[in-house]
């Protein structure tokens, strides 16, 4: 890692990277589409800058422009990218090649896709020194092995000879990071490096990146949509909106004293620990992100801004938009707003989607010892010889909990925890292997959906995760809603069905003429609203929402979440909210069920679960969630190892392979008991409850900070 690599760093002491008035456009059949406008950035040695913004704001484009890799139809139309004093646009292809991967390296969003599937990882790593420093094969292999150890990958030799698909997603991302670090670059670009990963894995990667920054003194640009991650990794932040930076500055300054209404809006929309669904509800940003060629003149955020003033905000002052202006007294804090100095943030109390707390009603759902095993037929010869052709996959093991009318129960867990199987059993797409699922008093555990009455089916419906997938692109919104109404026997008459469709659209606050639209004419949030309307078409007693907002942008998330809760409140519906996002769960759930590898680890009211005593897994999960609040201090717990396969789960406690608090042999052999801490708060762990109670809370408000993150 030393050698000629670091000597390179010493020669130059100006800024590593400067972007000056950078404008990037894509050229399509529809004409020029400006992706990024007037982008400025200065990055000094060892600095780490975050680029944050919602999808389509142009943050990845900036990274690609720095790499001078914009594809056939993209190009820099104005400004410069200057790396160590050299304008990258003037470099030849060969000079660029020598920079790429050597001095400027990049880590990508999807590690699996970023690695060549048909080449061993060792070879892919070795290519970097082989082509940049022309070292021998043996030397290249040596360096590759060393860097793998540096990124905390166990057994580097095995990784070297593996193909990408043979290692887990987290390990893949470590390899990609290792590859980027191999040549000891001066500049590291990280483009959403953890978005595709589970939250506990993400925590490990984030920690690794922070370590690297310290260890190699590498300058970093960290791109993310997640404000919490930026806080955890960066010194400075650029908030982007629709192709422009709207606010920039040191992270804690911007997070604590934001001046741009958009930045403010973002923070109001995310479920920080301080948010509360009744007292301090989330506030959505109204409207939608404008398409690049439909941006308004002046402030691009203008039409969505509560402080918009005609004649001031819609007058272009700098190109087609506004200029950046420095916030007084805070050097380096700049904001692109015409009225930043006039806004009185204390006086501004945005209307959140709130409502009164509704009392819980009767038990709607009661699950006792539900189990779902899948038979797996092993057709291998060995299995045939042994006669063990059928194996069982325990997708759900001893699930027991209840849900009441008007209650929100959250089911939390990472991938493979059995949430989806559980939902399928509830909906009747699978039948339970064992146990009881009482819904409105009827045992539906072995009743497939075909055997349920339309009323039964209609009274338990689902909201799905992926807005692009939730509606059938071939049919109009209206016809899809009408079908549900007809199917559940809510209405039979044609006109009344149509009426009901309109009512549903009203319910989810969509214009009535959306009935005639096709799904592709709708934005993601609008599609999710239709999805919610569809779930509520049969006046359900219970709605299962499977990650309903996780694929949406932050500002839209708040609106959809609010809507869902509103409707729930109105109809006193039971909401089963499946999510991996603990912040959101904390915000809206009444009760929480934490699952891991098909089993329930912990359940209780939200307050119980988020406070000690914790199950060790809950504790790690809480620690892993990035929180965009400078006043929060978290305990750092990084889980080791990979998530075990569901096909081959560990014996005893499913969590023992990764548990930082494992107490010994018993964890590996015996299934832990359900220990109760107060009524309904159940923890499945061998550690005595008294021990668990002694654990400190994971998340604490630092005393030095004000408890209102946005106030000044």
């Amino acid at each position: 890692m030393t050698g000629n690599g670091s000597s390179r760093h010493d020669k130059y002491d100006g800024p590593i990277l400067e972007c000056k008035n950078l404008s990037i456009s894509y050229f399509t059949r529809a004409g020029e589409i400006p992706a990024v406008v007037d982008f400025n950035l200065t990055l000094n040695q060892g600095d780490s800058v975050g680029l944050v913004g919602e999808s389509g704001c142009g943050k990845s484009t900036v990274a690609m422009a720095i790499m001078q890799y914009l594809g056939n139809n993209g190009g820099i139309v104005g400004g410069q990218v200057i790396y160590k004093g050299r304008d990258l646009a003037t470099l030849s292809e060969e000079e660029l090649r020598q920079l790429r991967g050597n001095e400027i390296a990049m880590v990508y969003q999807e590690p699996m896709a970023s690695l060549n599937p048909s080449m061993t990882l060792g070879r892919q790593l070795m290519e970097v020194p082989l082509y940049h420093e022309h070292v021998s094969e043996a030397e290249a292999a040596k360096r590759a092995r060393k860097i793998l150890a540096d990124v905390n990958l166990p057994d580097p030799d095995r990784v070297m000879s593996s193909y990408p698909h043979q290692i887990s997603g987290g390990q893949q991302q470590r390899v990609v990071i290792a590859m980027a670090l191999l040549s000891n670059p001066s500049l590291l670009l990280l483009d959403e490096p953890t978005t595709a990963l589970d939250v506990t894995v993400e925590a490990g990667i984030v920690e690794l990146i922070a370590e690297i920054a310290k260890k190699f003194n590498t300058s970093m640009i960290y791109i993310s949509h997640n404000l919490g991650l930026i806080l955890a990794t960066c010194g400075r932040v650029n908030v982007m909106y629709s192709g422009v930076v709207v606010e920039e500055g040191a992270v804690d300054v911007v997070f604590d004293h934001m001046r741009h209404p958009y930045t403010k809006g973002l923070f109001n929309a995310i479920p920080l620990p301080s948010a509360d669904k009744t007292a301090r509800p989330l506030v959505a940003i109204r409207g939608q992100l404008p398409l690049p060629h439909e941006r308004p003149a002046g402030c691009y955020f203008g039409p969505r801004c509560d402080f918009f003033q005609a004649g001031r905000c819609d007058v272009p002052a700098h190109g087609s938009t506004l200029a950046m202006s420095s916030v007084d007294g805070r050097p380096g804090h700049e904001v692109r707003c015409a009225r930043w100095s006039e806004i009185d943030w204390d006086a501004h109390k945005p209307e959140g989607v709130s409502g009164e707390e509704t009392p819980m009603g009767d038990e709607v759902l009661s699950i006792t010892n539900m189990r779902k095993y899948y038979e797996l037929h092993d057709n291998s010869i060995a299995a045939m010889i042994k006669g063990k052709r059928v194996r069982y996959v325990k997708a759900n093991e001893s699930i027991s909990f209840v849900a009441h009318e008007s209650e929100t129960v959250a089911i939390v867990g990472e991938s493979g925890c059995g949430k989806s199987t559980f939902a399928k059993v509830l909906m009747g797409l699978e039948t339970a292997t064992d146990g009881e699922v009482l819904f409105n008093g009827d045992d539906v555990s072995s009743q497939s959906v075909q055997k349920r009455s339309p009323k039964q089916v209609g009274s338990m419906q689902m909201v799905f995760q992926n807005p692009f997938d939730t509606l059938n692109p071939s049919h109009s919104v209206g016809s899809q809603l009408a079908r549900v109404i007809k199917k559940f026997g809510v209405e039979t008459d044609k006109d009344r069905i149509e009426n009901r469709v309109m009512e549903l659209l009203d319910l989810v606050k969509l214009p009535r003429d959306f009935a005639r639209r096709r799904p592709r004419q709708l934005s993601g949030g609008q599609k999710q609203r239709v999805g919610i309307a569809r779930a509520f078409a049969g006046n359900p007693a219970m709605v299962v929402a499977d990650e309903p907002v996780s694929a949406l942008d932050v500002s839209v998330q708040a609106a959809v979440t609010g809507l869902l809760m509103d409707i729930q409140r109105e109809f006193r519906t039971t909401l089963l909210f499946i999510s991996h996002d603990l912040s959101l769960v904390r915000y809206l759930a009444d009760r929480v069920v934490v699952m891991y590898l098909g089993s329930i680890m912990e359940q209780g009211t939200t307050d119980e679960v988020f406070a000690p005593p914790y199950h060790p897994y809950t504790e790690a999960l809480l620690s892993a969630v990035p929180i965009a609040d400078t006043s929060i201090v978290k305990k750092r717990i990084i889980l080791e190892g990979n998530l075990p396969s569901v096909m081959n789960p560990p014996k005893g406690c499913p969590f023992h392979t990764r548990c930082p608090r494992k107490i010994g042999h018993i964890c590996e052999t015996k299934t832990p008991p359900f220990a109760e801490d107060g009524e309904g708060h159940i923890i499945s762990c061998h550690i005595p409850m008294d021990e668990l109670r002694k654990v400190d809370p994971v998340i604490v408000q630092a005393d030095s900070k004000s408890d209102q993150p946005a106030a000044e």
């Binding site: 909906m427 959906v449 349920r452 419906q461 799905f464």
Partner: protein, 277 residues
Amino acid sequence: MFKSLALIRESIVGMVGLALILFWVFVAVFADVIAPFPPNATIMPMALPGMEGPDGAVFWLGTDHIGRDILSRIIHGSRRVLIFAPLATFCAYAVGIPMGLAAGYRRGMTDDVLSFIGNIILSFPVLVLYVIIIATLGASAINILVAVTFASAPGIFRIVRGLALDLRNREYVFAAETRGESPWRIMMIEILPNARGPLIVDACLRLGYVIITIGVLGFLGLGLPPPDPDWGGMINETRSMATSFPHMTIFPVIAISSLILGFNLLADGLREVSLRD
């Protein structure tokens, strides 16, 4: 479907293909009006292109060995090919789509059995299959239809199965399942319409192959029964004279190649625009 057809304007290649096809469709529709002679009338053997017939009418592309006007035969032949190829392709789809949907959506035994059957048929080289079918059953129009259906359906089955395997995991399918829709409805209403893009491209390519196949069968003397003009048959009937009277062979060859080219280009254009958006 209409969206991609409208988008075809964006692709030059696709537009050329569409133009070629529309040209032949036009010719086929108005064959009675534009053909100068009845297609089977034996008038004047071996006339060269441009020669005048007995009543002063011109054989623009000449006549064949038994005196039929080549141009009129090509014009009327377009009818046959444009009725037969799409009909045969349609039959193949009518068989392949339900099978593919059932296999891809239901999976399990249904899939195993259908896939096995499909693989067996697919393991026959296509023309071998045709030749055996036609030689065993005889070369009637209906048998060619049966042969094309039989030979093409497994290919369509595979594509539809693949698409259904993918589409069945979409949440709207899941949504339909959770409201207790019948499998049949899910396959036909929820899955099939969303598979149409790739299927339209495939249909264009397949039409090209079917036209070639019908041509090859005609060439091998196993084609549609005479005397109604069939392009492949025309080539077969006259190719022994191609060296002395190239006009008898070259014009049908141009006709069949241009139509196949049309379908291939259209398929390419459709794929191009569908990838773009």
